[in-house]
């Protein structure tokens, strides 16, 4: 394989093709509109002339003598009978016609003026003006020149030139033929082109009027043979046939001296065909269609838009050595690993250079062939590449012989094996953590397996999500991926200075169950919890009962996986935010204190190890590095699973059971509130309502009703919540931050509450009412979408209808939001993709112009920032001052406040909202938090 740079592109210049150039690069002139003769051979000087390149394997090109894939194809040309305007240049032509003299062809400016304009253009260029700025300036020059009605050079009167879209020019209403236009353009002297922003060396204006049309090589417009044996031609070929036919007729008619009218008609027809050959969506003319009625896909259509050459073939490419399948979870894997099914591993290969050192091993591998049949997976080989570049396919039959012929400098494409570095990706790839490097673990099954902690960065779940995997092919790529892209290097998110990879769902529940209050485990249980974790020992038991049986506390077990010198203090998710913190004596066990790597008090939940919020995680990856944090995360996963399995965990609808007494209480409360609303409505009707400042009477009523009903929902939830203790699984999940919220629970057990569309009570549907079940103008709670029931008790038909109204709004919102944010993201990426942080701390673009004088104005890497601050002074104080209680308390209060802002990160709220509305719609005015 040849690698390295053989030729380097110095610069690229775009220019117009002159008719001479078109004819010079042409391999053959095209004159007949027929493509193939009766025997199916291409006709000479037809559109499929063999001089234009080869598309059929086995044949040789008549121009260069190469075969398919070696011959790049060659251009031909059509000599047009009459000149025709190029649609792509009409604007330019118009500008030129308007700004030059109709008789002498000079620019309609005095020499001095022209010099002045040139000077200011030069200055702009010197000061770093880009091509767009220069183009705009040329436009201004042209406009000023066009304003002059008498030529300063020859004194001729100028007439008004207009453009009749798309390609007809008129001078005071008289049609200008392309021939006349061309003559005028020819008259413009070279020195008058520079002020108009045209370099006469690369483009003479008359070249914008076509007298010869290049015919693209057949490789650009290959014909396909259908099963029936019929040939089907490319759209471009069809269009060129049209051009040739009309060109032929035009020539014949002109030469035969046909009436002017007929010639002009044909000329215009030729103009139409050439125009649509370039752009079949030119406004003002009907698109050329296929016989079936489908519009033809001509040159511009090939390039433009999402399916065009740029966006689908150049910005985005299809690749080899990649795989895609459904993903599923495996808590046994490290966060750095990915489980690859055997079937996929046998198809994906890694090239290995044979050397003296590894040739024996490779021979063994080649001998296994492409489909080794063994108990345990061992890599085989699919291809062997000889130094001369020949690929030998290894089959079961030739495996032995190929292995014998193996020599150093051969390249062996071996199957994936454990430890190979691959890139793993899930669309939409919105941030850099959407594509990370994993190491391979080959496993049975048909899905990719991944550790659950990496779900948040990929935003993956297992409801049928698919992910892509790319095998790295070179040593450089692997080195780069290991250093920069490994999962463990991305635990900290550059979106906010905190961890994005962390425990979710059951892992949080697991550590919660393990560490909440005084849990104790006997030897068997303790060992089971620790079983999957390597390098730890069962410590001395802390508790012994009367019979001498030993017990270990959950906090003690959790401490085993903490770094030995970790010291940290913070409040966990279950913290009730009391006015005065009782610290270690907290009755909720929410005050986490870790000293010398021992968990002394507090519960380990979302605030400690969760993704986005995990404080311990944050501390470990900051102070101990990525290897330690990977190990910690792997161990947390394993220990949490161990704990949750020992303890057992389940949830069901009976978790929302509340006593009859409580139900009655809630009912009474709600009826009371509804009565109050009725009284408010009555007061409104009687005009007794006290108007709020800045609000109309109607708005005042709405606000008061919303307030009242909001209160009712909250107190119903509270009453229900009082009967749902911390021993309740659903509550445990909500409080520890594993899944769901207390609001979700109160909606299940207590009351769903007011439904809203656009933040207002439901009001539309029928005339003056929401549904025909209510009388017109009823402003009461039930008539405007208050749902009294809970999800558990079940909704009445009208309530259900209201609930779906609110639900629909949520769905529409998410749909609108995703499409809009996707488009915004695309525009942002296009604008920022070439920006780069340079060695001197400046941000520059590819032109080396400065965008920012200091990256982010302070030069701080947000990944390493603490909550987007450059340094964490509180943490430093901790380190230095240790246990100075009072100071710590102050530090802590500040810290909790700081941390809450992490949740307000825009992207995250967006993500969470989207999830919430998609899965369990809730449409109330004020939610939790």
């Amino acid at each position: 394989m040849m690698r390295g740079v053989s030729k380097r592109i110095g610069s690229i210049k775009f220019a117009c093709l002159s008719p001479e150039e078109i004819r010079k690069m042409s391999a053959t002139k095209i004159i007949t509109a027929d493509t193939y003769d009766d025997d199916g051979f291409p006709i000479d000087m037809g559109l499929m002339d063999p001089h234009l390149g080869v598309i059929e394997p086995g044949l040789r090109c008549k121009t260069c003598g190469h075969k398919v894939d070696e011959c790049p194809g060659h251009f031909g040309n059509i000599d047009l009978a009459m000149p025709v305007i190029h649609v792509g240049y009409v604007k330019e032509i118009k500008k030129l016609l308007q700004s030059t003299c109709r008789s002498c062809g000079r620019l309609l400016l005095t020499e001095e003026q022209a010099k002045e304009y040139m000077a200011s253009m030069d200055q702009v260029e010197d000061l770093g003006g880009d091509s767009i700025e220069l183009r705009d300036m040329a436009k201004i020059t042209a406009k000023d020149a066009a304003a002059r009605m008498i030529c300063p050079h020859c004194g001729a009167d100028q007439l008004k030139i207009t453009l009749d879209k798309p390609t007809t020019f008129r001078e005071d209403g008289h049609k200008l033929t392309p021939k006349e236009v061309r003559e005028r353009l020819e008259r413009i002297p070279d020195q008058d082109l520079d002020p108009l922003g045209i370099s006469p060396k690369s483009c003479r204006p008359e070249w914008m009027i076509l007298t010869a049309l290049p015919v693209p090589p057949v490789t650009v417009r290959p014909s396909i043979t259908l099963e029936s044996g019929d040939r089907s031609e490319d759209d471009l070929t069809h269009k060129l046939v049209d051009v040739l036919r009309i060109n032929q007729r035009l020539r014949e008619n002109r030469d035969a001296g046909a009436p002017q009218l007929i010639v002009e008609d044909l000329w215009e027809l030729l103009q139409y065909h050439v125009t649509t050959y370039f752009d079949n969506q030119t406004s003002g003319i009907p698109p050329a269609r296929h016989r079936s009625g489908r519009p033809l896909k001509t040159l511009v259509q090939r390039l433009k838009g999402k399916e065009g050459r740029f966006r689908s073939n150049l910005s985005g490419k299809r690749v080899n050595f990649s795989a895609r399948t459904v993903i599923s979870p495996d808590p046994g894997l490290s966060i750095n690993e990915v489980g690859v099914p055997e079937e996929a591993a046998r198809e994906l290969t890694v090239p290995v250079n044979a050397t003296k050192a590894n040739i024996e091993q490779l021979k063994i591998m080649v001998k296994r062939g492409p489909t080794p049949k063994m108990e345990n997976y061992l890599p085989g080989v699919n291809y062997v590449i000889r130094p001369d570049g020949r690929r030998i396919r290894v089959t079961e039959k030739n495996a032995e012989t190929v292995a014998e012929t193996l020599e150093p400098n051969f390249i062996v494409e071996r199957h994936l094996q454990e430890g190979d570095v691959v890139l793993f990706n899930r669309q939409p790839s919105l941030h850099r953590m959407s594509m990370m490097a994993h190491t391979v673990r080959v496993m049975p099954g048909k899905t990719f397996r991944l550790n659950l902690c990496v779900c948040p960065p990929y935003n993956a779940d297992f409801d049928g999500d698919e992910m892509n995997l790319h095998v790295l092919q070179s040593e450089e790529a692997r080195a780069e991926a290991i250093i920069l892209m490994k999962v463990q290097e991305h635990i900290m998110s550059p979106r906010f200075g905190g961890p994005i990879i962390g425990a979710i769902h059951d892992h949080i529940t697991g550590t919660f169950l393990l560490t909440y209050r005084d849990t104790r485990f006997d030897k068997g249980q303790a060992l089971q919890i620790m079983a999957k974790i390597s390098n730890i020992q069962l410590p001395e038991a802390t508790i012994k009962d009367k019979s001498g049986k030993q017990y270990w506390t959950g906090k003690q077990l959790f401490s085993l996986i903490l770094p030995k010198d970790l010291r940290q203090t913070f409040k966990s998710s279950i913290c009730q935010k009391c006015n005065v913190c009782k610290k270690e004596a907290c009755e909720n066990d929410a005050y986490v204190r870790i000293k010398n790597g021992q968990l002394l008090s507090g519960t380990i939940d979302e605030r400690a190890i969760g993704s986005f919020k995990g404080r311990i995680l944050d501390k470990i990856s900051r102070d101990y590095g990525s290897d330690m944090s990977r190990e910690f995360l792997d161990n947390v996963t394993r220990m949490a699973i161990g704990a949750i399995m020992v303890k057992g965990f389940t949830t069901g609808i009976d978790d929302e059971d509340i006593p009859e007494e409580a139900k009655r209480q809630i009912d009474a409360m709600l009826t009371d509130s509804i009565d109050k609303v009725d009284r408010l409505v009555a007061a409104y009707h009687n005009g007794e309502l006290e108007q709020m400042p800045g609000r109309s009477m109607e708005e005042t009523l709405e606000v008061m009703v919303m307030q009242e009903l909001g209160k009712a929902r909250d107190s119903a939830g509270q009453t229900a919540g009082q009967h749902l203790g911390i021993e309740n699984s659903a509550v445990q999940m909500a409080r520890s931050g594993a899944r769901g919220s207390m609001l979700n629970l109160s909606q299940m057990a207590g009351c769903i509450g007011q439904q809203a569309v656009r933040g207002e009570r439901l009001s539309r549907g029928y005339h003056k009412r929401t549904l025909p079940h209510f009388e017109k103008g009823n402003l009461g709670a039930k008539a405007k979408g208050f749902v009294i029931n809970s999800y558990k008790s079940g909704l009445t038909p009208t309530e259900f209808f209201f609930h779906s109204m609110g639900g629909r709004e949520g769905l529409v919102d998410t749909a609108v939001r995703t499409s809009r944010s996707g488009y915004m993201q695309r525009r942002l990426i296009n604008a920022l993709e070439d920006l780069k942080l340079k060695q001197d701390g400046t941000v520059r673009n590819t032109a080396d112009s400065i965008i920012q004088f200091q990256y982010g104005e302070d030069g701080v890497d947000p990944t390493r920032s603490v909550n987007s601050k450059a340094i964490d002074i509180d943490d430093i104080l901790y380190e230095v001052l240790g246990d100075e209680a009072d100071l710590l308390a102050k530090v802590e209060d500040k810290k909790m406040g700081g941390y809450a802002t992490v949740e307000k990160d825009l992207m995250e709220t967006f993500d969470e909202d989207a999830e919430e509305t998609a899965e369990e719609p809730e449409f109330e005015s004020g939610g939790e938090e």
Binding site: S120, Q123, V124, D126, L127, G128, G129, D840, T842, R844, A847, D848, S849, I850, I851, F853, Q854, G856, E857, D858, G859, V860, S868, A870
Partner: protein
């Protein structure tokens, strides 16, 4: 009532959202370019028609040439003060 405004009525530079703008002398500009190791065309741009530039022109009493450099001192959320330089261009 018709007001005839000869000088701008409001000094934009005094607005608290508008950062401090200062015209650099030729020597200062040269020094800045040397420090950054860039040529003039690599600097970010500011138009002569920018109200801040026009105001500085008024205060100075003489026009600011294209190619002059303006120093802008911004209060920044991340860094206390962020200094930027802009090249005056036509427009």
């Amino acid at each position: 009532m018709i007001f005839i405004v000869e000088a701008p009525q409001f000094n934009v530079l005094e607005h608290n959202l508008v950062p401090e703008h200062r015209l650099l002398t030729k020597e200062e500009a040269q020094k800045v370019l040397a420090k950054l190791r860039v040529t003039k065309d690599q600097l970010p741009k500011i138009r002569r028609s920018d109200s801040c530039v026009r105001l500085i022109e008024d205060i100075r009493g003489q026009p600011i040439d294209e190619g002059s450099v303006i120093e802008i001192k911004r209060n920044s959320e991340t860094a206390e003060v962020a200094v930027a330089y802009r090249l005056v261009i036509r427009g």
